[in-house]
Symmetry: C2
Subunit: 276 residues, 2 copies
């Protein structure tokens, strides 16, 4: 009998189910809808997502697997781990699994987990925060979170949020960093700005109109980097006459970088100075 890393003392009950089972419907609703209550749960699809969510000790509701796809020892070990962690375990056919998974290389396992929930005040002691205003592309948010995780930045705030944190493409793009970097949101720029000022943050606005460029920037901490929307940049409400505008020099034919790339360059520049 395999060992499980839960404190469950008995073997899990595994039910064989088909595509029409209500448990499958929950997975599909989380994947396609952002409506409550499906914005507090996320789908773990793929080896990395499953491993990182288990490492982050996220509560696992349901676990779906198809043995036809589970071959390597690593995969088998992950399956055993999830059989121990999940409240409900389901065995599905290859056909059902392929309809459920978004991946070209299905790993044979999918789970539904509680997504970590934070409010802004949980992040107020962090030396560096990234503010994502009105970002519309889930992959860009995923990129920023992956960089936060790498750079040692433990907080991201969404303002005028357009993409739910549990969006499958956000989670995929973050390579699991969505589970390790605390995220919270503000409805408006003015609320976010007030909170940042009240908590002593030095606010840096990424904006192509800036006079100061990468390479000549000295940050004061705690620091908040504000990145604006892919289409419109930062909104005018951020500008109050004593703002810190910063830019990345653009020497070629393009007038901007992708927001995920630009944020990553600034965040590592900040982290280099913080952790020096």
């Amino acid at each position: 009998m395999a060992k499980f890393d839960s404190n469950r003392s008995t073997a899990p009950i595994i039910r064989e189910i088909g595509f029409s089972n209500p448990a499958i419907a929950v997975v599909r609703k989380i994947l396609t809808s952002g409506a409550k209550p499906y914005d507090t749960q996320c789908v773990l699809d793929g080896y990395w997502a499953l491993a990182k969510a288990a490492d982050a000790k996220m509560p696992i509701h349901s676990f779906f697997f198809c043995d036809e796809f589970i071959e390597s020892e690593t995969a088998l070990a992950l399956k055993q781990r999830y059989l121990g962690l999940a409240e409900e375990c389901y065995s599905v056919s290859a056909k059902t699994f392929e309809k459920l998974s978004d991946r070209d290389d299905p790993c044979g396992m999918i789970a539904v987990a509680d997504f970590p929930q934070y409010v802004p005040d949980d992040l107020k002691k962090e030396p560096i925060l990234v503010i994502m205003e009105h970002l519309e592309t889930p992959g860009n948010i995923g990129t920023i979170l992956r960089t936060c995780d790498g750079a040692g930045i433990h907080g991201a705030l969404a303002v005028n949020q357009k993409v739910r944190f549990t969006h499958p493409k956000l989670i995929k793009g973050s390579m699991g960093a969505a589970f390790s970097v605390p995220m919270a949101s503000f409805a408006t720029v003015s609320e976010c700005k007030k909170w940042l000022v009240d908590n002593g943050y030095h606010v840096y606005l990424a904006d192509t109109r800036a006079k100061k460029s990468l390479g000549e920037l000295t940050y004061q901490f705690p620091a908040a980097l504000v990145c604006g929307s892919e289409r419109y940049g930062i909104s005018p409400e951020w500008l109050d006459g004593h703002e810190n505008l910063i830019k990345i020099p653009m020497r070629g034919t393009g007038d901007s970088l992708n927001v995920g790339v630009a944020a990553s360059i600034f965040l590592y520049d900040m982290a280099v100075q913080l952790y020096r």
Copy 2:
């Protein structure tokens, strides 16, 4: 009569064609195939690609437009520009256009152009080069090119090339930088390495095993940054006992960044030192 920015003195001949026309077949072959002769031409799909290719003075073979999608003054001006530049001009129906374009927001214009061709020796005077070894994701190459354009880096070399430079997703990801950053390729690492040494380059290998990290790096120019494949990193052939390994510190749960993001961080770090 509208003015054209070509030296054509007469109005262009515009033919109305349907989806089965051989001119359309050429577009589709370039989009889906990398085979000769379709690796020397590229498809311009979308406003940015068309504008940048015209700015880069790339020879335009054929131009397809659908007036139903062309509304703004900017779009109309671009259409007039292409009617002047293209050897052949075709009017197509909305249905045909939508089958041809990959975009969710079709701009109503598509063109076929000669893609700029370079050999490595064209790049040998550049102070910074990026080497892309065995990269498999067109979007990652596009990201790196967009960063090169922004950072003022005028050369990219592919080694063990897996994606043709004319791949639609590469061009889209580059936001037109694929037309302004010269690219050439080497078949093997050993040929590339010999060429770099012969041309006096200091070679920097991005590798997580490095001892030296971002923030403590001083580059010597001319410098070449080597980025390895998404799955395997740089190949062992690069290591010769006196290599310069460099890394980006990873302080979280992830063990690497996306290769496009990592390359962008290093390339701007190099550019900051070069252009200081």
